[in-house]
Symmetry: none
Subunit: 243 residues, 2 copies
């Protein structure tokens, strides 16, 4: 048995406030209660309240912020729901695989699941914040799940998987927080510029590729510190370079 | 692989025509297309059409009848969705159990799944027409799934169980070979010695920790080459060190 309330649903740039209400209702039916809204077009709204039905408490407690980063700063694992499987590969799970993965994590892990805009989903920059994607397998001829429906399916799978008898926990250290990962990537970028592997005037896709690689490894806080120690050593043992 | 179009969704006495449209959309996203409406309060309706989004074809082909019997006459198996587990016991399955059961039936079996009125569900007489019930496990403190949401969850489970395991492979590049990984770790070890982070006389557990971290990321061959390029650059930009 696991605490479903430790899982945050983050709705990014929602256009139709009715979907916010319907998502809150979907969450509450499955026992979730932590909702964050990033730049909603209209909130609070009567339409959201009406569609929330008996779940207005979820709306009232919702965190409303301007940037995705502010909704996930304290999270160890960030998953992004994506209707499309992008060209640049981030590993994608079905809702069931994602819920199974979450079930295997230590109970103290803080998790966010991001859902993007109705028409355009999450931006590439927002997807870069995600360790993994969640893709709901759908009819290839018509895969247009309504936003709140996607929240319902994910919440349903979370309840199915997390309230099942406890799964063997592989590791009792949760992944590093998003803030720690950001610190790592900033440090890595500085070090790569320092050794002149990365040209700040022509960065190409290098940091994106690094983020994907290190996100997949899901390093814990100790490992992030270890990597940063190495980066510091590299910076100190390399003379400043000049063109 | 099995024909999802042989499964009929029957909405009984639906009050809000918006739910009919949302249910049609939910069905189509999962590959279902056979919808029957028993005594809908308002149909056709603009609200249903709007909520159906790109699934208006499901609405246009919907069978509209007055009695449940007329919607299920040609069916071999009739399942009834029920939010409440009634005193009079009919066997109840979760959506997954129901979908597994359907998956085990001969392909020619015609199946209907009944969904009742928003407020009051199916009547006892309607439940008597069902061989089994389907009950979506929900938050006992708030189990009020929206009608179309319940259709979405059931359609999702049907697609999950009846279609072959989804081959949603995000990355078509296989992980690097073991030999390539060994080459990476040897190179990493040399580089860490070079920048004097690793003392070969007292290596502690450093390389073991690095191996664990990078193995978890499952880098592909391109990513291994990228990492080795960085290591080469670090070695070249750092003067050889002397004790």
């Amino acid at each position: 048995m696991r605490d479903l309330t430790a899982i945050r649903i983050v709705l990014v740039g929602t256009t139709d406030s009715g979907n916010i209400g319907a998502a809150a209702r979907a969450m509450k039916t499955m026992g979730l209660s932590d909702l964050a809204l990033v730049g909603p077009r209209e909130f609070p709204s009567d339409k959201a309240t009406a569609r929330a039905s008996g779940a207005t408490d979820v709306l009232e407690r919702a965190l409303v912020v301007d940037r995705v980063e502010d909704a996930i700063a304290d999270c160890n694992l960030v998953l992004g729901a994506s209707a499309r499987l992008r060209a640049i590969t981030v590993p994608a799970d079905t809702p069931r695989e994602a819920a199974d993965r979450i079930a295997s994590l230590p109970g103290s892990t803080r998790i966010s699941v991001l859902f993007g805009r109705e028409k355009t989903g999450l931006t590439n920059a927002e997807l870069d914040l995600c360790q993994r994607l969640i893709h709901v397998p759908a009819n290839p001829e018509y895969s247009s799940l309504n936003l709140a429906m996607a929240v319902q399916v994910m919440a349903y799978e979370l309840r199915q998987c997390l309230l099942e008898p406890a799964v063997e926990v592989a590791d009792d250290v949760p992944p590093a927080t998003q803030a720690a990962m950001d610190g790592l990537f900033e440090h890595l970028e500085r070090a790569l510029i320092h050794v002149r592997y990365l040209d700040p005037d022509n960065p190409r896709q290098l940091m994106r590729r690094m983020r994907r690689l290190f996100h997949r490894a899901e390093p814990d806080a100790d490992e992030v510190n270890l990597l940063r120690g190495i980066l510091t050593k590299i910076e100190r043992s390399t003379p400043p370079t000049h063109d």
